[in-house]
Amino acid sequence: MTRGSFATFTPPALVLAIAALLVAGNVALPPSSPLHVSIFVISLAGKYLSYAMLALALDLVWGYAGILSLGHAAFFALGGYAMGMYLMREIGTRGVYGNATLPDFMVFLNWTELPWYWHGFHHFAFAALMALVVPGSLALVFGFLAFRSRVSGVYLSIITQALTFALMLAFFRNNMGFGGNNGLTDFKDIIGYPLQADGTRDGLLLATALLLSLAFLCARFVVTSRLGKILVAVRDAESRTRFLGYRPESYKLFVFVLSAIIAGTGGALYVPQVGIINPGEFSPANSIEAVIWVAVGGRGTLAGAMLGAVLVNLGKTYFTSALPEFWLYALGALFILTTLFLPQGLIRMFARKPAVARPEIPSAKERPA
């Protein structure tokens, strides 16, 4: 097996194997067994893998195209809302008000009919498609405008942050028709399977692992292709690439849209496993936290990003329950220490050579003149 195919197939194999082991531990072992995996752990693992998908998406644009998006959680949340809308419609008459077409919060707001953008979401396939199309379209429009006028670097970071902030404010409004402050919640079942059942949760974890693996392979395919080489060239020397006759904006736009779609998928998988989606998911802090997952794991490695997402969130789960005071200190320190002492990320500690060469003379080039 060559190094390339090792790096390509090991991460998804590991993801699938761990997910399968966890599910097996939940299904096959009796609850009395010390190795029995509780359903809480299954849901948690599913959540981490959804986050890993967001991290993967972010690494694709940041690690390979040099676009530090501080608004990637927006795509994640949009995918989540698309899935949440399907799950809301699926509740049907079992809601508090028992209205067959209108979700509870609309009845509560005295709405009489479904807003046009809610139509079609009672089909799972349509909702799944929208979970890809909506984030993808937003990325297409936003990326087209931004890259065409050569907004780059920190300017791009700041306007992506403004984008997710604006979306957060918008989704907090009740008359947007997305449940306002409370978001969408109280889901009952997904394609006929009750969400509270163990079997459904196991299935969701496996589906997440599978889609994460697929997304990884897809991203891996992109970055190892010729297109990926050009992306790296754009990242390291955009002007030079342009002078060689490439159009950096097209490459960036492609990878930005692809990344948004992957993030949207992650969000769509996240919602049924967590059971709620609310505007807080759009908060800029979430997007920046996702960046630190990538940085901790190792920027520009894909696998490192996934690893970082899982590790940081494991830490978060532990600290927020054991030492809630301590978590923000830990997260803050993680940001600082990673950037200062571990710019290559955790995964490079195992790798033989850095996958991303540091820009040769960064200080002379980028330091303010």
Partner: protein, 526 residues
């Protein structure tokens, strides 16, 4: 003819009142004839009878009783009765008296009479309120009382209000002559507010001349009101803009001049606000008389505290990350989390109470505007800080060195400037100004560990919008964004307005990726 009668009545009324008329008025109450009662109430109100207030109040409260002889009694709160004529307590069997009831006409007359009675109160403030209330009710029934009060009134400001109230009653009166009505319309038009315009629009059965005058008045008032609306939006916009300017100007230095993305900038603002809190806390316990000066003491202190923290951050963190803007962004974000949590641990997660010194609270009316003093102070403070900063950059040795390092770091170093120290001082300056912004923000916003978070995105928007590295651009950008925001708010609502501004800035950056005033030449390539 009727007007002449009315005038005659006006002249005669006081005379009649002095002639002991109220006794007859009192008897009307027990007559059971509602029209007579309404007339009696009005009559009583302008009579100047000292018992009038008590009687009408009792009537309104349903505590006015009469016995078979027509004697009026007031039932006190404890259930005992008091004879009105003599003012003495009376022993009455509850079965012998009957409660005096009202219909709507009497009720209206009583309400108007209450207003009318207060026109003669000893306290000018009460008279002013009464006149204002009568303007709002603009009941023609209050005309006699108003005329009498106007004749007696000495205080010019109360007189003006009474004249307006009289004019309002006059235009509403069905039988006033046209000339009087036109004069009244002129008075109301001169008042020029929303009530006046509504009043002019609702004159009953106007003659053509009155209708035309009223319409002109409405149009003129609306035009003036719109102007005041615009001015008000501008003022609020400038106020918001000056807040944005204060929050963003420190960022403009660190981000614009040094190229450092300081995500912990908002936390410097927050620290400044907490310095204000601590200063006030100390003053409250040690020297309460100094409270008025607390903000003035806090401002330099906040500058010093935030500045020192800023220098410490630059020396211990930022200087290792020069040339890596994205990494700086992440590290300072981490730092902001740590600082927030530290403040939360020390001061608790809840909002802290920061008081406003008395000289900053309150509002002054300016034409149709209400200028709140704390907003005005903040605008002045923002201008002061901005001017001081420009002067510092322009006229001091430090400013000269800072500009030199900004323009050409290598050459500045070659000339003997210790660039690392200039970096540290520049960062400290930016942080210190953020600290002072915190003092200002503590006056209008909640002082909580999240204070800085809510301003950081706006601040970045301002800096990017204005053009990085250009302080004038930052100032203009802040004020522009503030004003645009306030103009969008009434149209779109507060949240949508904010979203619209964000989208506008995002679109604007597409058009001009380097802001309103991009740096030109070599500095722009940095």
């Amino acid at each position: 003819m009727r007007f002449a009668l009315l005038l005659l009545g006006l002249v005669l009324l006081p005379v009649l009142a002095r002639a002991g008329e109220p006794t007859d008025a009192f008897s009307a109450f027990s007559s059971g004839d509602y029209d007579a009662m309404a007339a009696a109430v009005t009559e009583l109100a302008v009579s100047g009878d000292p018992r009038a207030g008590a009687v009408i109040t009792a009537l309104q409260a349903g505590r006015l009783y009469a016995n078979a002889a027509g004697q009026l009694l007031i039932r006190e709160a404890d259930g005992s009765f008091r004879d009105i004529a003599s003012g003495k307590p009376a022993t009455v069997d509850e079965d012998d008296v009957r409660k005096i009831r009202m219909n709507n006409a009497v009720r209206r007359a009583a309400d108007a009479a209450q207003g009318g009675l207060r026109l003669f109160a000893a306290d000018p403030a009460t008279r002013r309120l009464a006149a204002a209330a009568l303007f709002k009710s603009h009941d023609p029934a209050s005309l006699p009382a108003l005329s009498r009060a106007l004749a007696k009134e000495q205080d010019p400001s109360v007189r003006a209000l009474m004249a307006e109230a009289e004019a309002a009653a006059m235009v509403m009166s069905a039988d006033a002559p046209e000339a009087k009505k036109l004069a009244a319309i002129a008075i109301i038009r001169a008042r020029g507010d929303l009530d006046a315009s509504a009043l002019l629009a609702s004159i009953p059965n106007p003659t053509p001349a009155v209708a035309a005058a009223a319409h002109d008045g409405v149009v003129a008032i609306q035009r003036v009101l719109q102007l005041w609306d615009v001015l008000e939006s501008v003022f609020y916009g400038l106020s918001l803009g000056s807040v944005l300017l204060l929050a963003a100007i420190g960022l403009a230095i660190t981000f614009g001049v040094m190229g450092v993305i300081n995500m912990a900038h908002g936390e410097m603002v927050m620290i400044g606000a907490y310095v204000t809190f601590v200063v006030q806390d100390v003053i409250r316990s040690e020297a309460p008389s100094l409270f008025g000066a607390s903000v003035l003491i806090a401002a330099p202190l906040a500058f010093a505290v935030a500045g020192v923290i800023g220098i410490a951050i630059e020396r211990s963190l930022i200087r290792f990350l020069y040339g890596r803007p994205l990494e700086t962004l992440l590290a300072t974000w981490g730092l902001s989390l740590v600082l927030q949590q530290a403040v939360r641990s020390i001061f608790g997660p809840t909002n802290r109470e920061v008081g406003t010194p008395s000289w900053m609270s309150g509002a002054v009316p300016l034409g149709g505007l209400t200028i709140t003093l704390n907003r005005l102070t903040i605008i002045a403070f923002a201008i002061l800080v901005f001017a001081a900063l420009m002067a510092l950059l322009r006229y001091t040795a430090l400013g000269l060195k800072m500009r030199a390092v900004t323009q050409n770091r290598a050459m500045a170093a070659a000339m003997g400037i210790r660039t690392p120290w200039i970096d540290a001082l520049t960062f400290g300056l930016g942080s210190g100004i953020a600290g002072m912004a915190g003092v200002a923000l503590s006056q209008i916003d909640n002082v909580s560990p999240n204070l800085g978070q809510s301003y950081i995105i706006d601040s970045f928007m301002v800096v990017v919008f204005g053009g990085v590295g250009n302080l004038w651009g930052t100032a203009l950008g802040a004020l522009l964004l503030g004003v645009v925001n306030k103009f969008l708010e009434p149209v779109a609502g507060a949240v949508l307005g904010k979203i619209a501004v964000l989208v506008l800035v995002i679109l604007f950056i597409q058009r001009r990726p380097r802001g309103l005033f991009p740096l030109k030449g070599r500095a722009a390539e940095a």
